[in-house]
Symmetry: C2
Subunit: 431 residues, 2 copies
């Protein structure tokens, strides 16, 4: 059986160089059988700088995949902030400290005024897990609606509504899935609303009160569905009419990546009840969070407490503040818009019959790989691995694994687009 994770390394399929074979063997011994590597021949990396990653021989890989190092690998302004605060104090939130508040205020200034509280966690999984706890308390419901290949995290509660983890991870009995908002199947403003309403009706028919509709606002693991902006409005109204809440999972599209806005939900003209944040928030430092409207946490906060030992500690917040300063200071949202448009034009200009629809927003791209008009996951894998051999890092996504997932650090430039396109042409010529 194919691993449900696109671009997963399969041990024994390819002979590896000695050093890498030894590392793979140690991984199986030390980390056990639940870890997965990328690529037919895994990449061994030892250094990063900007959009470049380096192997032990000093070969440079163009990073067109990693959204964690969003302001560039090892950005000096971020490193300095981390080191400075770590040498002062790594306090937690049960003592008073200014940094968690200064950062919280700065972060909230990027949100509509209704979204005025933030709680800090260490991972996006923890943020979505907290969101579901708060939603259950606020609504009295348990029903969860997600897209068919959604990914929202790995805690026990969140894995239950992350179908992209594959058939080995069962969905909860209180979970309903809806098709991704694919414009080829009709206007998503109509179809997505109808599917969400049908899921609500089915939950109610089973005696399950709806608690949330949660979506990654760029539908990354479903294959990237970003257009036309605005299509979420009807679905959000439907879940609210049923007494449920709308959660925007901004772990992937957030912090300026879509170019058009700081957050993916803003492109759709909706104001979520909660917004979860993660990956790029600390440029690699483990920090994440949940932004919310006060009504969501009022009851929970009165009867329960939340404490996350490392969540919101001074080092995490100083680091995250430095990331926001770079996003602002280097104009990275605008760069995502501008370079994203150049990148999209370059990809659309390739005119290879195997390349189908490109779906994009800013510096986030999903590019279908087809055999005629059928999804071609095998060819997508050959392209991903071919680019790896050309030292360009991307991956694949979507329920059928046939969508190229291209998601570079936000400091990507027009020159990098040129390098990417040139190497992709070489790969397409030989695979």
């Amino acid at each position: 059986m194919r691993d449900p994770m696109p671009n997963a390394f399969v041990a024994g399929a390819v002979d590896l160089p000695e050093v890498e074979a030894a590392l793979v063997a140690r991984r199986q011994r030390v980390l056990g059988p639940a870890y997965r590597l990328f690529y037919e021949t895994p990449v061994h990396l030892v250094r990063g700088e900007g959009v470049w990653l380096f192997d032990p021989e000093g070969n440079a890989y163009l990073d067109a995949y990693n959204n964690v190092a969003s302001v560039g690998h090892c950005h000096p302004h971020v490193l300095a902030a981390t080191a400075r605060q770590a040498a002062q104090l790594a306090s937690h939130t049960r003592y008073l400290h200014d940094t968690v508040l200064s950062y919280g205020e700065k972060l909230l200034s990027y949100f509509p005024s209704e979204l005025c509280h933030v709680m800090f966690t260490c991972t996006g999984s923890e943020a979505n897990d907290l969101a579901i706890r708060l939603a259950r308390a606020a609504t009295g419901g348990t029903g969860v609606i997600v897209t068919e290949n959604a990914y929202h995290g790995v805690t026990a509660a969140v894995a239950e509504f992350s179908p992209s983890l594959g058939p080995g991870v069962p969905l909860g009995a209180h979970v309903r899935t809806v098709p991704a908002p694919d414009a080829r199947a009709g206007d998503p403003a109509v179809t997505f609303t109808a599917h969400v309403q049908a899921a609500i009706d089915d939950l109610l028919r089973h005696g399950i009160k709806p608690a949330v509709l949660i979506v990654d606002t760029i539908f990354s693991s479903d294959g990237v569905f970003a257009q036309p902006a605005g299509f979420l409005k009807g679905a959000v109204a439907a879940i609210r009419a049923a007494g449920g809440l709308f959660i925007a999972d901004e772990v992937q599209p957030g912090f300026g990546r879509t170019g058009a806005a700081m957050w993916g939900f803003q492109r759709h003209g909706v104001v979520p009840d909660m917004v979860s944040l993660g990956k790029p928030m600390g440029n690699g430092y483990p920090v994440a969070g949940l932004v919310m409207q006060p009504h969501v946490v009022a009851d929970f906060g009165g009867k329960a407490r939340y404490f996350n030992t490392f969540g919101g500690n001074a080092v995490a917040c100083a680091t995250a503040m430095a990331v926001l300063e770079v996003v602002e200071g280097e104009g990275l949202q605008e760069n995502a818009r501008k370079v994203g448009a150049e990148f999209a034009a370059a990809l659309r200009g390739l005119r290879d019959p195997r390349l189908g629809e490109l779906r994009d927003a800013g510096l986030f791209f999903g590019l279908d790989v087809l055999d005629g008009d059928r999804p071609d996951a095998a060819m997508a894998a050959r392209i991903v691995n071919g680019l790896r051999d050309e030292r360009v890092l991307i991956s694949a996504t979507g329920p059928k694994g046939h969508v190229l997932k291209i998601r570079p650090p936000l400091v990507f430039s027009g020159d990098h687009v040129g390098i990417f396109a040139e190497r992709l042409v070489r790969v397409l010529a030989r695979v």
Copy 2:
């Protein structure tokens, strides 16, 4: 209603200085109502060094509470390791990197040979959450047995078996609680085994297959129950006989704190199926993990995958490696044993009628505060707040909140014990 958290700040109860009053107001505005501060008058900290914490005026507080900064606040060896690796690469585990393996091998060398895999998370909550996912997959059961005032974390799944979070956080229908192993209620080797067996029987009577017995091996939130070493054996045998697993939660006792051993379970002569690690692992950097026997993850690893974006990244592992080097290089387990014994002797020497039983292991102490022979949470709070005014940090614990919880960084010395005892005597003379 008293907040179920001992030593929680209550807004408005005491007039605060202007700066701190402003910080409290900003916290409520920014962080919302679910956060809790410590103390009647919260402590405002800006710097840490070794066992000392400093407020903005430069006043020094003796830290006798924080186990996260286990090798001392802002230890230079740890800071250097974090900064060095952060400037190189903060890669994740889908690329090959030596550091996660070197650290994993080093960490596992401190465990019995049966415990030979480690998976990395960012928080102890995530480690226990992963443990319960693996246990469900491995046993086919769902039943969880914990002590009456246990704390294991804050994810949705783990909060369901963390009764110390208070009545506002409901326990799961599949959760059973047992009394803490209090030697005053009979030999814990007999009573704890009997209680666990009764919980197993009750789960089975309800058609719930037992999955795990999970205990903090020092029973911190129950009030600290560490003696006599060995009492866990019968309970572990009972859960295994019922087809369940035993999880040792070492987030609090682990990494040498008990003095007698690196891990609390070792004092009891048992080998757990899984061991969760957290707080002191990175001395403040968010890193945690789950160590396990291979049978626990064999089936899960075949049909599912685990990925934690920041878990096991190179910076987390380089930092955690530096922490282990300090624990070893500075002989901190032996220091916990030696200074722990001095500290215990000093506390036992106080002979104040309000101070009852002291329960201890290494540098972890639970000291009952009594009125006659009744628990006295109000007096415990006066002592905790009195020590805060003397610039010594501890807290309170236990289901009745009457147990002083003393748990200093492992670099605590005999001199620090002297300072602590002198200030405690002053406090006892006036409260």
